[in-house]
Amino acid sequence: MKQVVHLNINGSPYDVMVAPNATIADVVRRQLGMTGTKLGCEQGDCGACTILIDGKSHLSCITLAVASEGKEIVTIEGLEQNGKLDPIQQAILEKQGVQCGICTPGVIMSAKGLLNENPKPNHEEIVVGMSGNLCRCTGYEKIFDAIEAVVEGEYDDAATPQVGAE
């Protein structure tokens, strides 16, 4: 039995008809055409589907849409503002923390969540904080470089208003 669910995604209201077993990943990818959120394993093993819910990193492949009413959902599509990248996006792009790109939206949303929780993580905290996002291309070095550059303020000028945090 499908039901209407009111979701707040990237700051906009969406009323979607969903079955109770639909995950947020299903809804954004298949119903709303926001295919930036990726699926790599569909059971919480790879982190490619990471999104922010109320500012924290969540796995959208194992989060029910019906359970997400009233929450602030941010997907990768919600970071860029008026053609301006979020510092993490900018850093991942410039430091070549992106290769094939399939894990990238999840990596960026995860990094976003990490910095929301801990704006100044040290290297070890970045390593641990990003361990839920598998990347097969980069060996992670350039991803660490990018996040560290953001932490060190290298991309402050590119900063857009923080999305997804408080």
Binding site: Q43, K56, I62
Partner: protein, 292 residues
């Protein structure tokens, strides 16, 4: 991959939860964080009547501590919220270590302590740590509420003592005694996003003056269908001043009662060897917390 079909119910309070469970208990699963349940459902493919979501129930998400009642954690409290509480790191270090080990940040954000317990996976991280603190669980239904030790609550692989219409309400960890320390050590093959292959938790209390062990609780994880409380092994420690030989006999006693599986990940024999290492290392760490 799809979830099987079900009806979604989100009770507004525990009363409603109890009523729903009483009506649909046989054909319902409780959803808290979803990190275990939804993965299981995706893999099972079997349709289900109801999924009852308790994640919105504030009462079940509360965490409190006082010097009389100890640490009381609502079943739906999120793992990262528990970990963030200073008292957990200060007084229940083994639990802190166990939570820190679970999955990755996303999993700890989503997952709840009650879920980690009720899922009753033999590889779950928190149950051995909770056993080491003599944790008790509160189980509620629309008719009654009862308490029991956590070690008795988890009965086996994916089996708990939850009866029809019942739900796990909270977990209580008594106030640790003075001069006590604790540690949770686990062994895993991959650095991140990994479950434990073997785990050991213990809490110890030392005599204030001479460093002998006054009390000890040892819990073994992943080496049986449910956490094992190694009481005989713990007794070896009581009244003793620890030394290498003593610890070896303790860890041997633990290995002797363990029943690890033998599968493609590792042999049972090897798991027992690892268990011994973990017991000894966990003891050293806990001891150092008290003795400095």
């Amino acid at each position: 991959m799809y979830l099987p079909s079900f009806q979604y119910l989100a009770p507004k309070d525990t009363g409603e939860l109890a009523a729903l469970l009483s009506d649909h208990g046989d054909n319902a699963r409780i959803l808290s964080g979803g990190t275990d349940l939804l993965v299981q459902l995706k893999n099972s493919g079997a349709d289900l009547g109801y999924v009852i979501d308790i994640s919105g129930l504030e009462k079940l998400s509360e965490i409190s501590y006082d010097d009389t009642n100890g640490l009381v954690i609502g079943a739906a409290a999120k793992l990262d919220d528990i970990m963030a509480l200073p008292v957990v790191k200060e007084k229940y270090f083994a639990l802190y270590q166990a939570i820190e080990t679970i999955g990755a940040r996303q999993i700890r954000t989503m997952g709840s302590l009650g879920g980690n317990i009720c899922n009753a996976s033999p590889a779950a991280d928190t149950p051995p740590a909770l056993v080491a603190f003599n944790a008790e669980v509160s189980i509620a239904s629309d008719a009654a509420e009862r308490q029991m030790p956590l070690v008795d609550f988890i009965q086996g692989n994916r089996k708990t003592d939850l009866g029809k219409g019942e739900y796990l309400k909270s977990i209580t960890l008594p106030v640790p005694a003075k001069n006590s320390g604790s540690a949770y050590h686990h062994f895993r093959v991959r650095g991140g996003m990994e479950i434990a292959m073997v785990a050991a938790a213990l809490s110890i209390q030392l005599e204030a003056d001479n460093g002998t062990v006054k009390d000890a609780v040892i819990a073994l994880g992943v080496v049986g269908p449910a956490p094992i409380k190694a009481e005989d092994a713990a007794k070896i420690l009581i009244g003793q001043k620890p030394n290498e030989e003593l610890l070896q006999s303790v860890s041997q006693a633990c290995a002797d009662i363990s029943q690890p599986i033998d599968d493609f990940r590792a042999s049972a024999e090897y798991r027992k060897e690892i268990l011994r290492v973990l017991i000894e290392e966990a003891f050293d760490e806990a001891y150092a917390q008290v003795a400095g």
